[in-house]
Symmetry: D2
Subunit: 338 residues, 4 copies
């Protein structure tokens, strides 16, 4: 349920409506917008007495949110959410590119790649310190040592850091070192992890599960937001289908759907979405054209020697080419890039 306050409602009126809601055993989520404040209500299992609320000063309307999503819903919060990652704004006019290696392999590797992607216009550096691997015997990441290297990258280049948290035990450690906590596709419905990531109040990059419907995807975001963390960035990274010409099937129709249904920003991951280097640039162009708010791209200075996912990493030269193409398309779409 969503309360729409009048444009002229004062902060005091908003506070009072919140008190009334909480006195009914519910939770109030005030969301100030440019024109007016909306107040989301959660925790209502049964019918809420709307009359009491409508009787409050400054209340204009009550909207019954029939879809299962509340906090993530555009009905709940009609304007685009812009997530501020320490100055880099995701969801606004800027088309933000995150780039870096699949895994943090060494200090040297990260510095080479970071210098390059920074110069080319990336704003956020990606790199896995904790790697969820199909086999227990595969390289599982440099862990805290990797996080420290990422922090060095930030210090040296001013790039913001996004890196994956794979369990509740280490999510706070990841939050300490990074600017955005990534939740991977395999953990999209690991609800304890979603809650803990939400509790850190850090921006969270939530990847769509391999066979998640968009309702399930948005409900996973709802778990994070229900911890009073509005800083969620969604990410389409391809789904599993019968198709065998690509590692996953990048579902770009998810992007206009999410944009209509939710106020949250959504980016695209053509590296995992295709699994093959030569498809990354065309699908990056398509991601921007379809309306995504950014990209997350794997780049490696020596892909043949990458410890994981080498075949999908762009070389630094290819990444330059990508950024140039992005900039020229951004112009005709009224966006800025890099």
């Amino acid at each position: 349920m969503l309360i729409v306050m009048a444009t002229k409602a004062t902060p005091k009126m908003v506070d009072e409506v919140c008190s009334v809601i909480e006195s009914m055993g519910l939770k109030a989520h005030p969301m100030p917008g440019a024109l007016r404040t909306a107040i989301g209500i959660t925790g209502n299992k049964s019918q809420v007495d709307s009359n009491i609320i409508l009787a409050q000063e400054g209340v204009r309307d009550i909207i019954h949110v029939t879809k299962p999503f509340k906090l993530v819903s555009r009905e709940f919060y009609p304007e685009n959410s812009i997530i501020d990652v320490d100055g880099v704004k995701i969801g606004g006019p800027e088309f933000v590119v995150m780039a870096g290696p699949c895994s943090v392999e060494s200090r040297e590797q990260c510095m080479i790649v970071a210098e390059h992607v920074h110069k080319a216009g990336a704003k956020i550096f990606r790199g896995g310190a904790f790697k969820p691997r199909t086999s227990p015997y595969s390289f599982q990441g440099l862990k805290e040592e990797g996080l420290k290297i990422l922090a060095e990258v930030r210090d040296k280049f001013g790039l913001k850091i996004v890196t994956e948290a794979v369990d509740t035990e280490t999510v706070n450690l990841v939050a300490d070192y990074s600017d955005i906590i990534q939740i991977g596709a395999r953990n999209m419905q690991n609800y304890s992890l979603l809650r803990k990531a939400g509790q850190t109040k850090k921006p969270v990059l939530l990847k769509r599960g391999m066979s998640a419907t968009l309702e399930e995807f948005l409900m996973a975001a709802e778990y994070i937001m229900a911890e009073d963390n509005p800083n969620v960035i969604l990410c389409e990274r391809g789904v599993r289908t019968f198709a065998d010409h690509t590692r996953n099937t990048l579902d770009l129709s998810a992007i206009p759907f999410v944009k209509r249904t939710s106020h949250l920003p959504i980016i695209s991951d053509p590296s995992h979405g295709t699994g093959v280097r030569h498809k990354v640039i065309p699908l990056s162009r398509a991601s921007m054209a379809v309306g995504a708010d950014g990209l997350i791209i794997e780049v490696h200075h020596d892909p043949a020697k990458a410890l994981s996912d080498g075949p999908q990493a762009l070389t630094p030269d290819m990444f330059d080419d990508l950024m140039n193409q992005m900039r020229s398309i951004a112009k005709v779409l009224d966006r800025e890039c890099g």
Copy 2:
């Protein structure tokens, strides 16, 4: 198997190589390119004696095509094929938009829609006269009466006509009235129909089957080309997956794959690919950005009253908007549009 002739090889040398091949019980397909001629060989079940061929004058090289596709393969014919539809060229620098109603419903309806899409920049008019319907009791199209209406549209507006042929009995009738014969997704592996459509020598628009792999898709095109009809235009129209936010999942990664593997042009059908009007424009932008050679779009002047597929038809106003967006993106991608 593919024979590459030297750049300086004369037409006479090419003819002689063809004769040698045919004398071996095989079929030769000479494909003249800008620089040199290649000769495809089909019909070889077992090993061909390459030495005889290499001994011919003007032969530079023999390439063993290991993939199952031959005539459709880019190895076979390295340059982009450009299909000339009575002056409208598909597969070259122009990004070609085909537009019109799902079904031909009446003369009046077609004239209204055709006038509009023609003015907006479409070059080809679409409309179904024979409709393959899931139910035997649904509207199956106006048949020959519909074809006549389409021919009138061509006469009046100079638009070229694309319309579907649903069986071998009526494919020649469709060929008589239209400029491009469409083979629908359900018939992608209707091999008798593919052969007959090939024999008409008319351009054929071949849609990908609902769960066809790209190898199967290209092999279906091979059936048409094996009838000595090089005029095949491929079309990605969405595949079937678990996803329930869209009617089909438009697989844009198919487009760079086809471009790498084959010399044939490929267009995109975001109307069937999504099934919902508001996703058509974003996915049209994405289709152009990913590298498609054109679009096929459903437009209806009164979608609420359409006899089929109303929810996915654009209104004329939306189509204008689409064309404007296409033109501005085309500029930065070195293409022309409308």
Copy 3:
């Protein structure tokens, strides 16, 4: 719409109701059952005046069939349809096994395999004379020569013959030589072929398309029945999914769904459904246990040399083992087998 006649209604009453229906521009399909006759009505695009019909003598009830299927629907015809294939009854207590090679390769091959499967208890012999192949260059079957070999198998062993028709041009030829016309998965929505197969009045074995929903599958059967051919046998043969441990994913849940929704018999094809020999026997057991009315199984006396689908063919010894297992399970499921 379905008219239920009273149990005591005379044939004359049934005839009169049919006349009334036809005078309204509709088509009447009388379906005599053990207890009472039902009359299906098709051709009604708009509302039918039920009062006129209810006023006829002998009419007990009118059922409005809301689902898109009519003739195939169990609401339409509540008892199990039993298809009589020249004495072999499919859909009744007998669990019928069809067996034979993928392709008819030679007279000798067919005689060896037929002798074996006949002795083991198969009632129907399968073998492709027309083969729909992904590549135009693959072996396409022995065509009429293959049909003649199949007819010889019938004469010699008394086995009934099922073989595939791939196009409208050859469906009558196939009907002349065979007892059951098979429509393959690729042609499930080749509506012209469905209609022509229906017109032969021969039993038709209709295979589910690779990504057909069950509604589409039953609607394809509706096309055959709409030609006044009630002799349709359905076949689950596996669908396309992301799973890579099997060629297709045999969807056994389709069988109880079809049994509830339709009166038509349904068999299972574990050979195509799995694509690997060692899974055929376990999934044959499961098919019987889930409620299928029979099996269609590929058997080859020398699978390594088969011209098509060798890896999924059972050897004669494995087929004996299969039949023994089927017989022992049939006992506890109140069915007979072989």
Copy 4:
């Protein structure tokens, strides 16, 4: 890598081989079989010097396991693993039925259902105390209170308890109260949870993820076994496909594949696999027939009032019917049931 000891090798010889392996920095997993002992080696990133091992007394052979799975592999341990759940043996001749409500809702509900399923022949009681729910606002289970109710069921009826652990924080609590820890489909690749569940040394019931390949499924089991916990029971519970007649598509072909590839037992969950009550019994019969080692079935005494998954729960009467059918099929398959 796998060391096969000679049949006459003494326990002392086995111990010495293990010491040698560990001195090389690797981990040895002795697996005593009826005829001979095998020793699995894990931890080998690079080449191991086989000569040192072959030189040990009692060593017969070394098998290089090329597939990514080691401990779960049938090459590694050729006999069927039989998991002993406090006297109930899973993976041997007995076909074990686990039954109970989706969620533990109250003491009274559990006692009613438990009494019934116990009398009908179930050996293990299922019921969720921690429920992973798509929405953060849905009922999430009675938690420890629910576990206490389950423990009471064990005390009163002698049924063993299987219940789901949803995170690393509560897995030990679940282990304290239950006999089998269930890992749900959403958590199949929650590797930290898999490891922690492994460390409890309790039997673990691992459900296949919604779009997991069988390689990923077995590799998830490998995570549990790599913690020196051989007590893994696999469970097929349906995968996600385009099919819309069923909640999931129960992939029964997974069962013979797992049986060939792994020594671990595998059961089937037709309740989640179909999502509809009337398909549960036919697919239970099919699961037994295809070779599963047991079932997990949802039963509720008043499904209309169930807090979760009511439509798929069997009534007690239907469960009796199921058990009777299972017993009669078990007889002809040389298995025992209930």
